[in-house]
């Protein structure tokens, strides 16, 4: 008997409790009650980053491009990125368009870091133009330094085998699967071995910048290919 009474009373209590909570929630939703102090919703939206580049004269002075070339470059840049900066996602998208067969995202990531010289997570027009200036109008030395920077992922001045392997895998990823001859798993590794054999003079397992530059300057193929893209713009 007692249990029966408890049952009914219990259910009664449950019902009343449910009702009370529901009404409180209703009032809260209607905005008549607020619970905590920090319930103020800050509508602070991160405003879109807008960046205006330095003036044309300064860029002209800092880079080796002519005025007209800078104009053309900027028009193209601003068309693609109206906000004035490229973030990594957009960069990856753009770069991936050129290599439809493979996955260019890893290499684009390294490339982005190479361009983003001030490491603020976005490539502004100045970074873009500086990088291009080195690549297209720089001396061979500068180009080689730039390449070294690209390979040196953690920017510590040494290229280790792991870094090189990452870069190599990223490059081979861009090729995609449909290649002839078929890419095998150890192809990047072998390629890294070849590279290190060539570059690492003192066989200490890392390549320093001097070793790199020396070795490249002695290699005819590399020297010739450095001049390949000079008439791009």
């Amino acid at each position: 008997m007692l249990s029966a009474i408890w049952e009914t009373e219990g259910l009664q209590t449950v019902g009343i409790v449910v009702l009370v909570f529901a009404s409180i929630k209703l009032l809260h939703i209607l905005g008549l009650i607020s619970f905590s102090e920090d319930s103020v919703e800050d509508e602070l939206e991160l405003s879109a980053v807008r960046h205006r580049p330095e003036g044309l004269e300064q860029l002209e002075a800092q880079t080796r491009f002519s005025r007209k070339e800078l104009q053309i470059l900027y028009r193209g840049f601003k068309n693609e990125c109206p906000s004035g900066v490229v973030n990594e996602e957009t960069f990856k998208d753009i770069y991936a368009q050129f290599f439809p067969q493979g996955d260019a995202s890893t290499y684009a990531h390294f490339l982005f870091n190479a361009f983003d010289t001030d490491h603020n997570g976005s490539v502004s027009f100045e970074d873009f133009v500086m990088g291009l200036s080195i690549l297209l109008r720089g001396t061979v030395q500068e180009k080689l330094i730039w390449a070294f920077n690209l390979y040196d992922i953690n920017k510590d001045g040494y290229i280790t085998k792991e870094e090189m392997l990452d870069i190599m895998k990223a490059i081979y990823d861009m090729m995609g699967k449909c290649t002839y001859p078929v890419l095998k798993e150890e192809t990047p590794r072998q390629h890294v071995e070849v590279f290190f054999q060539k570059m690492d003079k003192n066989k200490d397992g890392v390549v320093t910048i001097d070793e790199f530059i020396d070795c490249c300057q002695n290699d005819e193929n590399i020297m010739r290919s450095m001049h390949l893209f000079e008439n791009v713009l």
Binding site: A4, I5, E7, T8, L11, Q12, V14, G15, I16, V18, L19, K68, I72, L73, R75, G76, F77, N79, E80, I94, Y95, Q97, F98, P100, L111, A114, F128, G131, L132, L135, L136, K143, L144, W146, A147, L150, Y151, I167, M168, I171, H191, V194, F195, F212, C216, N221, I222, R224, S225, M226, L228, F229, N231, V232, L233
Partner: protein
């Protein structure tokens, strides 16, 4: 490659220097850019509005008109700009596509106009950006549906050679095609009504007879009801069998909903016939009688609204399913709660959870019969929550269903409205065309008058009559005259000059007179072979006397230019050749008998229509009538009347 990022190609190539130290083999030679034009501004003049852009912007998409050398066709040397005679508003979005790489669909633009612009400029609509693609597709689908509706109606109007089976099927599907079909339609409707009413009245208690019990009418007048039932079932059976016979695809017909309803409606009767003697299964037999009520669904063939309702329910199946599911969930929850809440109270009707289902359903649909009422406080609280939530749950999916119904209903209404407007539209189009033909006849009249006047040498009248008509008109008229001269036929019976004459375009009234005359005279009808145009019977000039021959040479126009007629032209001889007219009401042409006088008049008129060259979208009356005419006319329904000046 998406050339929207063509601007980044130099960058990608420059970055390729990063591969060089790693590469083992020498690199291929880079292509030289010989055309080192500086980037220049191009002016695009679209109907007066000048757009300017860089040449490289347009070069981004080389497979479009503006990006390829195709635009050189539009280059204007004097003004050094590209001139396009197109809509400048639509061109805006097209040029923006080149600039931004995204094609947007402006919502105020008509969908077919926009499509045409896209086709002109060589842009495929599939690259419309995601923001506008849905809208574009919706509008396009809507437009297509509308066009399809029109086409379907055209198919109805067409009169191809239907065999008996197809005619019957058409009569069944669309009762307005012939009186017989209409009669059949009403008869079946009447019998459906009779059958349903009989079923209902059967159960009403009729007056008392000698025994005290109140008997339902069905048991009192068994024979009468049985006769009525038999009659109805026979009609339905005959109808079903006829439909089955006439159906173009019997298997598909048997699977369709309507045929299943038909079968379910008439089966109980037959089963009852078979099983009357067996007492054990009479209980089951009684259940079968329930299915007779399905006959009422046969009305959906007769009512458009019912069909729309059914279609709506079908299309809202997911919403209905959701409604059902949520209701079931709520019922189970509340029934459980109410059961446990009322368990303690004495003499509670909530004996089990399924018993509480009834209470929950009645409460949630706000029926509230009151046969089960909670007595405890908890029960009352939960009961009130139950009724409140019931209102909400049921009210939610209903607007979706209503909007679906409204959309389909309005679509149907629009289709009906379009059909009604189409007749008026066609009439107006016909008037416009007759204007053009009349202009031609008028000019011919003037031309002949000019010749006449030249013969008689009267100068002043000649001046008056040389109306200045535009170059286009004069060229058009010359074309029609050439057509006349091409089509000559040899008359078969001549009492006057034996000159054959070319067919000429005739004035409307005269032609109708000719038509009526030939209809009055019965001629042996011809088989519908095309080659029989050389065997018409001709009455020659006997009838020509009573015809007034107006100055414009009145002649029958051709539906199809059939240049197989032979003989030179001889205009200035009075010759009235009449050939047999299969257009008369001989029943040899079963394909034409569905239209009575209407067809003949239309056939007469349409001959005139085809001659006028007006670039309108082919009015539907044109095509079927032309088809219908093809055989009769080429079988020689040519009234050739040439008047002497």
């Amino acid at each position: 490659m998406a050339t929207g990022v063509a601007a980044w190609l130099p960058f990608a190539r420059a970055a390729a220097i990063g591969w060089m130290p790693v590469a083992n083999c020498p690199m291929p030679i880079a292509p030289r850019d010989n055309s080192r034009k500086q980037d220049e501004l191009i002016i695009l003049n679209v109907s007066g509005r000048r757009f300017q852009t860089w040449r490289t912007t347009l070069d981004r998409y080389p497979d479009t008109l503006l990006g390829s050398s195709e635009k050189d066709f539009f280059y204007n040397e004097e003004t050094k700009e590209y001139f396009f005679d197109r809509d400048p508003d639509a061109f805006r979005s097209i040029l923006n596509f080149y600039r931004t790489g995204k094609l947007h669909y402006p919502r105020h633009e008509c969908i077919s106009a926009y499509d045409e612009e896209l086709t002109f400029f060589g842009i495929i609509p599939e690259i419309i950006g995601d923001c506008c693609y849905e809208e574009y597709k919706d509008r396009k689908r809507e437009n297509l549906e509308r066009l399809q509706d029109d086409q379907e109606e055209n198919k109805d109007l067409k009169q191809p050679n239907l065999n008996f089976r197809e005619t019957m099927w058409r009569a069944f599907e669309n009762p307005h095609t012939s009186t017989l079909a209409l009669v059949f339609y009403y008869v079946t409707g009447f019998f459906i009504a009779i059958s349903v009413i009989t079923n209902v009245v059967e159960t009403v208690p009729c007056g008392t007879t000698t025994n005290q019990k109140d008997m339902p009418c069905g048991e009192r007048y068994t024979v009468a009801f049985f006769c009525i039932d038999t009659a109805c079932v026979m009609i339905f059976t005959v109808e079903y069998l006829l439909r089955l016979f006439a159906a173009p695809s019997r298997y598909r017909f048997m699977r369709s909903v309507m045929s299943i309803i038909d079968v379910v409606a008439i089966l109980p009767y037959y089963i009852g016939l078979v099983m009357t003697n067996n007492e054990d299964v009479s209980g089951a037999f009684v259940t079968l009688r329930v299915f007779r009520v399905f006959r009422i669904f046969k009305f959906s063939r007769h009512s458009q609204g019912l069909r729309i309702l059914g279609y709506t329910l079908k299309s809202c199946a997911s919403e209905l399913g959701f409604l059902l599911f949520s209701l079931t969930m709520a019922i189970i929850i509340f029934a459980t709660v109410m059961f446990y809440a009322e368990k303690g109270s004495s003499s509670s009707k909530f004996t089990s959870i399924p018993a509480s289902f009834w209470y929950t359903i009645v409460t949630m649909t706000t029926l509230g019969y009151g046969d089960m009422v909670p007595k405890t406080i908890a029960g009352k609280i939960f009961g009130s929550i139950c009724s409140l939530s019931g209102v909400l749950v049921i009210a939610l999916p209903v607007p979706v269903i209503v909007s679906n119904f409204s959309r389909i209903y309005h679509q149907n209404q629009r289709a009906d409205k379009r059909r009604a407007q189409k007749k008026a539209r066609l009439a107006r189009i016909r008037i416009a065309k007759s204007g053009s033909a009349n202009a031609f006849l008028q000019s011919k009249h003037n031309g002949l008058l000019n010749e006449l006047l030249e013969l008689t040498g009267s100068e002043e009248d000649e001046q008056k009559l040389i109306k200045s008509i535009s170059l286009l008109e004069s060229q058009h008229h010359h074309l029609l005259r050439c057509l006349e001269k091409t089509t000559v036929r040899m008359p078969l019976c001549f009492t006057l000059n034996t000159h054959s004459s070319a067919h000429e375009f005739v004035d409307e009234q005269v032609y109708e007179q000719n038509c009526l005359e030939t209809a009055l005279q019965t001629y042996p009808s011809h088989s519908s072979s095309i080659a029989s145009h050389d065997s018409p019977a001709v009455t020659c000039c006997g009838a020509s006397g009573k015809k007034n021959t107006p100055l414009p040479n009145a002649n029958l126009p051709l539906a199809n230019p059939v240049p197989s007629h032979r003989g030179p032209l001889q205009e200035l001889s009075a010759l009235h050749i009449q050939s047999a007219d299969p257009l008369s009401h001989t029943s040899s042409r079963s394909n034409l008998n569905l239209r009575t006088d209407e067809s003949k008049r239309i056939n007469c008129k349409s001959g005139r229509i085809t001659t006028a060259i007006i670039s309108l979208p082919t009015p539907p009356a044109l095509a079927p009538d032309a088809d219908g005419l093809h055989r009769p006319l080429s079988a020689g329904t040519n009234i050739v009347k040439v008047s002497a000046l």
